[in-house]
Subunit: 371 residues, 2 copies
Amino acid sequence: MSGRGVHLDPGQRRDWLRLIRSENVGPRAFRSLINRFGGARAALEALPALARRGGRLIPPHIPSIAEAEAEMEALARLGGRFIALGEPEYPVLLREIDDPPPLLAVRGRNDVLLQPTVAIVGSRNASGAGRTMTLRLARGLGAAGWVVASGLARGIDAAAHEASLSTGTIAVIAGGHDRPYPRENEPLLERIASEGAVLSEMPMGWEPRARDFPRRNRIVSGLSLGVVVVEAAERSGSLITARLAAEQGREVFAVPGSPLDPRAGGTNALIKQGAALVTGTEDVLEVLASLRDRPSRLDMEEAADEGMDAPEPSEDARGRVLGLLGPVPMPVDDIVVLSGAGVAEVQVLLLELELAGRLERHVNGTVSLGF
Amino acid sequence: MSGRGVHLDPGQRRDWLRLIRSENVGPRAFRSLINRFGGARAALEALPALARRGGRLIPPHIPSIAEAEAEMEALARLGGRFIALGEPEYPVLLREIDDPPPLLAVRGRNDVLLQPTVAIVGSRNASGAGRTMTLRLARGLGAAGWVVASGLARGIDAAAHEASLSTGTIAVIAGGHDRPYPRENEPLLERIASEGAVLSEMPMGWEPRARDFPRRNRIVSGLSLGVVVVEAAERSGSLITARLAAEQGREVFAVPGSPLDPRAGGTNALIKQGAALVTGTEDVLEVLASLRDRPSRLDMEEAADEGMDAPEPSEDARGRVLGLLGPVPMPVDDIVVLSGAGVAEVQVLLLELELAGRLERHVNGTVSLGF
């Protein structure tokens, strides 16, 4: 797992930042725009017209060059920098997910980002046993050469970071780098920022909201070849991470517990659904060792990417796609089949709707009309 | 699951008891002898000659008619009777295992023997949580119409019986009916003998030894469509039951626990090996419901049984089979292949060696030379 790719020049990097910080531009729209227009600069120019075609009346906000530079400077003051998708420092596995962040704001060391990584996550109100298991697993995996990723939450996450500080740890946060959360983990965060790495895809100044945590969790699992859930109640955030991980093709591991312990309800359920049962580091290492050297998905699919020469969608296709969309999330594949329009055509139409702020993309790849 | 078969007449029953209580006659040898000679009487007559051909110098002990009648009377004084393999009262699933007891000494009610049965087993030094889970599962399975089988041991076994007394429970004991073990469970045993059923394949007066427990456990699992292991340390007797159950084609279920709890070491290992993870009654019922009405193995295989017209083995084949046998247990199939002799011929040669006290049969179907 060595870095590949080329660096953006300073102007490109600033344009990338302006584009991903533009109103209604998420990671998927960013990728579509870059693919369609060949670069961030051209995409920024096309943005207002696309949004208008999608039904937007007021032009979407696009940050100025000065605003982008201010964010880069604020990050630099915390010792951070942006790493762009496609640059050699960008985590290899994270490139492969459906919606990789185009820019990662990174504090800390680059080298941990390029080592084989495993995530350890779990409940915030962890038991003593859960914390002990976390320490054992994080130490064991660290000793075996694995970087441990987690979400800096209380409980399991914090224990996982602490136990892997000396061997390599990555914290992914749900807000901006200048908005640490939870506050009680700030001293730990600062240690990770000097000994490991702290990542965020969110703008400086961004206070994390509830919906940002699942979004953050897709990065935790996306960085990692596998996700170990140590303790989790049923219907908990850790289970969302596990589901996202499975959807990303990541291996899911879970530590079992007594059925009488509610903190094991989620992990036992995961094992029932097919997660590998973990009682010690070896259980994780055995599975991961067999995956570590598999060919990257990117290597196989890079050539199949949609070109930038997608046709202008017809008004007829636009009507059919709009007719299919509603408040209920729907897989994009189904929209293609049911509309009878081409894949590229549907992608452009969805992009326009998204830029107009009318389309909502969900973490599982479905879309819905958002008004 | 209704009873089938015909009853033995009193003389046959007595001869069956004499044959199964004869020296070196276990359940497998019993079946071979009946198949070969057409009945227990003829087998008893042939026994001394067979043992001689197997290399036995002193004739094996065969109980007299008086001895057999004395055992039947002793059992009757405890309110018990013998049920023979093939009689309608004999538990349907137990007929299907490789080495069903030809005679079961039964105290208690016949009806529980013919109902769908599930086993619940586990460690003797059970935790409070383990006992609570056992009560929940036994009550839940009982309420759903399942009879609960177990081994009357301390801890999980006793809790399983207690919770299922009113809905139907079967205790299988490793010694004779007049040698209750453990003594502390005698009051429970007596309640089971009046409200449920107590089974033994061992003679009256038999004190259970360590090696009798795995033998007993094959009956617990053999009676049952599935075996639920609630708590078990690694390398425990409950794991042997689980292995036997899997070999018998029974469903294996295990209740998970914290990896830090040694009493969950065995159950977690079972789940790793493919046992179904159980957190509540529903997990067991779902799987069992799908198996409950499957066709019996006997229905399909009865016709394929070895006939009684097996040829006399040649001295040449005897030499080759003996040459292959040693102190290391070996699958019978391998002996057939490597000796180049016929299956029936090998069976007869092994039977002779067994009756001579030279062959040891192991619970997994392998054989070794025992001197």
